[in-house]
Subunit: 271 residues, 2 copies
């Protein structure tokens, strides 16, 4: 048992889709979230830079004494999970293994699509992870560089978003995938639009929901879960390097909560 | 990645219900199984004896160089999980946390039933685990001492089994549970009979299926999963302290496999 919070980091607001699942599945747990919206998107950045930024976010939350870290960002998971895991002494969980595992479980025709940022797709991490588990599966990957800016600017319900999503996903329609991994935690905010384009026969995999099942398993395994007998209510704290106002607007809509405290922070390299 | 096998131990043939899920969800993995049918059932035995027998099974499989141990027996998990986990240097997984987590997720009316052996039910481990996670849930527990012998003697499809299951579960019917944990790995072999008595509105939780999702998470977390690129086929070995013939009959029916090698072994205390 531990009263400490679970830390979540993301390039911006995307990791809130993972937090939403955490609030639902782990109501006793406190959550500290840091979104690096000022430097978002991470997708087009060189890997070394993503690793550096991920370390900066990690160090910020480690100072708040978290008990577990969730890298709630596919680009950062692809670039930095192993390095961060080797360098800190709390459990560190990424979003790629849980999403891959769920997709393999769901796919019947052995054709899985993956959409993500340029960084994630170019790293081939989903293809590699899935084929390690089952090399009979065909993985069709596509980067969607326009999606994250739509979400970060709170335009994910707009008619522009609808048009961009339809145009971007067009080439994927002829690939006959039956399962599509939303390989970026920003994308579940666009999932009604994505589902509409892909059609009802394609199962969308939200890696956030899958990741929280993994978090729950590891909390139990490492005896870190908060007890429901604890009288202190769970406490959530949100930090952003960007605009707290914009962050609050998106977070309050997405998390259906009106009591969020969002603090603006600056990140510096921990040398 | 690791070519080593995952070890499964049980008081008898019950853990085969967990193995069935492992073969389905983790087809690349090799499985070594040890069932202590000669000393089954564990349910009525004192806790110290169950701990001792569990250590004997664990030591037998550790000598076969397994990479992970699944205590595929609720009674042994309740009595010995923490001790075994603290005493060996490979990951050790029990069946109680995964079953509890799944039941909480499924229950809508917050009334969860648990059936198990006398040892498991008297330990109150399910009640404790569930209420740690959500103390608004009512847990109704009942021991079913006649169930394991029915399974071990390969009578789980018989008319006697039907009668025993109906009579035993009668008191549970007025408790209005909407979810029932099969808190003994032998019980999924009786699940058609149990479902029939409980009715279609009660969800049965097979802790085996849930446990294998946890095994999969931990194989990934500890980099122990076998690669599908490995050309060597997975290899399964079955050991029993009881009758290899009876074990084979049950295992071949349950696992729908006709190529099982079952070896008779004797267990001795490792002093």
């Amino acid at each position: 048992m531990s009263k400490k919070a679970i830390g979540f980091i993301d390039s911006g607001v995307g990791g809130l889709t993972v937090v939403k699942q955490a609030m639902k599945q782990l109501p006793n747990e406190s959550i500290y979230y840091l979104g690096d919206s000022a430097r978002c998107p991470y997708g087009p950045r060189p890997q070394e830079e993503v690793v550096q930024f991920t370390w900066e976010m990690t160090n910020f939350l480690l100072e708040k004494d978290i008990k577990m870290l969730v890298i709630a960002c596919n680009t950062a998971t692809a670039a930095a999970l192993e390095t961060i895991r080797a360098g800190v002494d709390i459990p560190v969980i990424g979003v790629i293994n849980p999403g891959s595992r769920a997709a393999i479980k769901h796919s019947k025709n052995h054709r899985i699509g993956v959409i993500g940022t340029k960084g994630t797709i170019n790293s081939n991490v989903y293809k590699h992870t899935i084929k390690e588990k089952d090399n009979t599966i065909e993985v069709i990957s596509m980067s969607c560089p326009k999606f994250v800016p739509l979400v970060e600017s709170n335009q994910f319900n707009s008619s522009i978003a609808k048009k961009v999503v339809a145009e971007t996903l067009q080439p994927l329609l002829k690939e006959s995938v039956d399962t599509l991994i939303l390989g970026c935690t920003h994308y579940p905010l666009l999932s009604p639009l994505i589902q509409n384009v892909m059609g009802p026969n394609v199962t969308l995999i939200d890696s956030g929901a899958e990741t929280i099942s993994e978090v729950s398993t590891l909390l139990d395994y490492f005896h870190l879960a908060e007890s429901s007998h604890n009288k202190t209510a769970s406490e959530h704290k949100f930090y952003t390097t960007g605009s707290p106002k914009l962050f609050s607007e998106i977070a309050e809509t997405w998390l259906e909560s009106s009591h969020l405290t969002v603090e603006k922070v600056n990140l510096q390299t921990n040398d």
